[in-house]
Amino acid sequence: MLGRTANGIFWMFRYLERAENTARLLDAGLRMALTRDNTKAEDEWRSVIKTSGQQAAFETKYDTYEGSNVWNFILRDKENSANILSTFELVRTNARMVRSSISSEVWEAINESWMNLKDQMKRPVAQGNLGKVVHDVRQAGMQVHGAMSGSMLRDAGFHFGRAGTFLERGDSVARILDIKYYLLLPSPSYVGSSLDTGQWDNVLRSVSGDRAYRWLNAGQIDARGIVEFLVLDDRFPRSLAYCHSALRENLAALARIHHQEGQCDTLMREADKDMNELTIEAVFENGLHEFLRGFINRNSSFAAAIADDYRFIA
């Protein structure tokens, strides 16, 4: 497989995951805002913008956090280069670039979703249509993953795509957790206290973990439990532990296919050791923020090592 193609598939799946995660965040924000009075709703929208890392860009354009400005900014505003529509366009552009290395099922799932999303976001999205748009972005992700799982040869391309997916997913969940944690727990003494359960519910929702968490914890909501769930529970497909082991498996498959290990495999051995020894006590003792920053930084190192090992760029 060409290095450029591997790069294209890797990023195609990163962007797909990014679009989907941003849509989840928006969805959770909308739900919260709907149940609040106006001032509180603004707080909620601010938190959505902040979590998606777009605060600076948003504030150069708007003074207040009005709902429709927020979701349109996140969905389709050209002044926000990370908007969902542009992100999805990058999915499609990369897919077009690697067209001959993905199955037509995967390509068509992307292309059809792109046509649908582009059409729905041609004009500013009204509140009544927001739910559908957000749903369709998430649906697009499901369709592409389904098409991939059912139609693609388990060769290098498949594993580059998977590696991209889980790298991005882990990254995104860590960022959400990091920002929400600061927002929700102004000081460490709050750990374990029953703060606003609605807020925590929101965190879970934004990673589609609310149902699974309630199921496992019989409806109990507390900060420590949720952090443990999102960081360490490797049964949940969006937890950091799960993303970590999925990345490990795909890197191992790539090393097998290429008959050689690279820097990313060395990095993985270190990360694996750390992850195996990790306890929730240690996370809180050393600081959740520090842990999450470490996780995010290591993700960047993985991305760089993979690109280098597999000659993504000339």
Partner: protein
Amino acid sequence: MGDTPIRFDEMFAADDNVRPAYEGYSDWYDEQDPKWLRRKHGEAENSFRKTGITFNVYGEDEAEERLIPFDMVPRIIGAAEWRKLTRGIEQRVSALNSFMYDLYHRQEIIRAGRVPERLFRNNAAWLQQMVGFTPPGGVYTHIVGIDLVRTGPNDWFVLEDNARTPSGVSYMLENRETMMAMFPELFSDVQVEPVSNYPRSLAKSLAACAPAACNGKPNVAVLTPGIYNSAYFEHAFLADQMGAELVEGSDLRVVDGRVQMRTTRGFQPVDVIYRRIDDEFLDPLTFNPDSMLGVPGIMDVYRSGGVTIANAPGTGVCDDKAVYSYMPEIVEFYTGEKPLLPNVQTWRCADDDSLAHVLDNLEELVVKEVHGSGGYGMLIGPTSSKKEIAEFRKKLQKSPSNYIAQPTLALSTTPIFTRKGLAPRHVDLRPYVLVSPDGVTITPGGLTRVALKEGSLVVNSSQGGGTKDTWVLAE
């Protein structure tokens, strides 16, 4: 307006009787509910959008991807008729290949006085670097798309020889796929020759031209300028269908005297490159130094037998319309036979007598640039205004040798589907021809381009043309 020439309709004879090739289709068509057909018409477009069979249009606001309109009435050619055509095409393509060889070697055709020396002296596509070099397998024109037009029951003419990089073959294949998906029962009623072998034949034919340096199974790659090129879809499609790598210039590098591609395992040699970029961008060291699309040093590797480039650099010489005008002489010189497929009558404006004739009859002629393509930069006398003709006259007088002129042909029509039922439109035909050391392969079918506007003779997709599935009936 002058006399309206009698046009030949391929489906209906003058008495409205259906011609034999269309009988099976016509029987089927008459049984269909028009409402259902109209719905199918909409479905076709949708299916093309989903698969992404689009072409990019330059110069629009956003680099927009557009669909070439598809018409769901097939263009049908009878078995005997096709057999005749293929003999003519084979003869012409063999002659083209011999001509290329001769032109870059002893130039016997010029010594014999059959064509003038200026044919290559004035030819922008001529490559000095190819002189004395024989490409692997002796093949210059691996892929050719001969444009044919028809004016009567037995009157087929060659309009252009596209020997450089003919495009559109993906439409031939996808149009058939679409037709089979939409009207499966039609294909059990009418026996149609399949076109689906084309990618396999192409892969085989390219592999048969592997260079001397190749050991083992030849590695074939399709070289594309990238996703913003107007024909990118086709490049990806062909690579996918052949199981070949789709590469860009930045993926390739000359390493150890071979052209190698950067894979996730490191550099690996490529044996045959089906390039979809023009000569001048192939090698910045040899041609255009600003080219970002090509591979520095590829021409040296080529000349030393390290890689095969298809079509061979310098084959663009044949696409020149001045060369076209000599094709009857060229065919006869190399095959010793009269051409089976005639040229359209052509006046070379480089000759004073011809120029005088052309200037006197601009209102009735089609005038084309010698190096032009795609329907740009040409004059269609009968449909142009006085002002347009006057402007063109000036250009023509300024540099006559840049132009050739042809009569405005009454291209044949075939019906297209409209809201009001079948309606005749003008068409042309581009069959796809593969050349390898083992011989010439012609896929039974091709790309039928159709001018969708009533009365229009311009079939180019960039100017409102559409496409049709082209059927060759089984024997």
